[in-house]
Subunit: 229 residues, 2 copies
């Protein structure tokens, strides 16, 4: 259970994180940001935004995890990204001036701040460093997704699962990975049953430890080896 006091954190908590896009703001800008954001406690599995809706602002994750996903023809989710503390979610569609083509939902109880579209765009217009940071971020994600596509096309499910576990470990550390089998399957891009069978294999091979929902990587080297480059 998340401490309720998290509901009123200062922005600096978030901005000090190594992965924060807004890390380079000056004191004035930070206090301005403090005045323009609203902070909310989100329950587990609560939606931040839906595919097809218009963006009205961005979400800054102070505490918790958020899945960004797209639904395929039959409604099955494909998880594109899992965002953690310090990340900003939902700003991509704002630039494209189109509706969201993905949806976002909390994976656990989370503390998330909201910055209205205009305030966010203002910040960007007046801050070249921030702008560059965002362009850099967009480009990096584009690169990530090229790799994602290539992995989906060319790697086996076993290889992709190994790859996913390495990624998830980094996202969740120092906590154990904590995802439902279905979400994990939707991240790897496979059927839940197949994922469960492969997890069992990895467990038996001593690569991971599983305690119901929670799992930890015990042999990252081997997993990286299985995942391929």
């Amino acid at each position: 259970m998340l401490d309720k006091s998290h509901k009123h954190v200062t922005c600096s908590t978030c901005l000090s994180r190594s992965n924060s896009l807004l890390g380079g703001l000056c004191t004035d800008e930070v206090s301005n940001l403090e005045n323009h954001r609203s902070c909310n406690l989100f329950k587990k599995n609560q939606s931040l935004f839906l595919e097809g809706s218009f963006p009205r602002g961005v979400f800054c994750i102070n505490q918790g995890k958020v899945k960004v996903f797209k639904r395929g023809d039959e409604g099955k989710e494909q998880i594109i990204h899992i965002a953690k503390e310090g990340e900003i979610v939902g700003f991509r569609a704002m630039f494209s001036e189109e509706v969201y083509n993905v949806a976002a939902e909390t994976l656990e109880e989370s503390n998330i701040c909201y910055i209205a579209k205009d305030d966010f765009l203002n910040m960007i217009d007046t801050n070249a460093a921030l702008r560059n940071g965002i362009m850099k971020e967009l480009s990096k994600e584009l690169a990530d997704r090229a790799s994602f596509i290539t992995n989906m096309a060319q790697k086996s499910v076993r290889e992709r699962l190994a790859f996913a576990l390495i990624l998830l470990e980094k996202i969740y550390e120092p906590e154990p990975i904590n995802l439902s089998r279905e979400d994990m399957a939707n991240f790897v891009g496979t059927a839940t049953e197949t994922l469960i069978r492969l997890l069992k294999d990895f467990k038996e091979e001593g690569l991971i430890e599983v305690h119901t929902r929670k799992m930890t990587v015990t042999n990252a080297k081997k997993l990286i080896d299985i995942a391929g480059k």
Copy 2:
């Protein structure tokens, strides 16, 4: 064979295209651009840049087609994007300040201009509209790639091929699609043999017409139907 005179086109030819990122430049900026770009005729299958190399500038396609691809573990190409006339290729890695994570190569004889990194970045710094256009473009591509990933994960090869043919038709029109079976397979994300068999099916179902390398879509409606949403 491409007319040699294409080697010395004016930028306005490119910029007038509907898909041009640089469409919004003013007269001064265009003439400045004319002075800073160099134009070259590229042979078929000529490399623009390699995965792992540092970006030194961007490529503006005046005439021709370029595949943007990534190699998987075993060297197999996954084509991420096929760029046509008017598109700018190779600017994403410039923002991320990292090496290219994809490679680019002409699919046919092409006329392509080169703009050095500094000149391009200068243009962006001094032109807010261009900057916004680029951010918009990056965001749109991010959305495209989320769909690409979801398609790879959830659609059958037959569905993906139908989808690819619809895309390729738009890229190549008014010309017929002109891609090797291998390239097409690497775009769809399948084995060449599988692609060939499915093309045959589509041909027999009257959805496409094939003349050796060249093919045209004869029943787009049905293909869209097969592709799914």
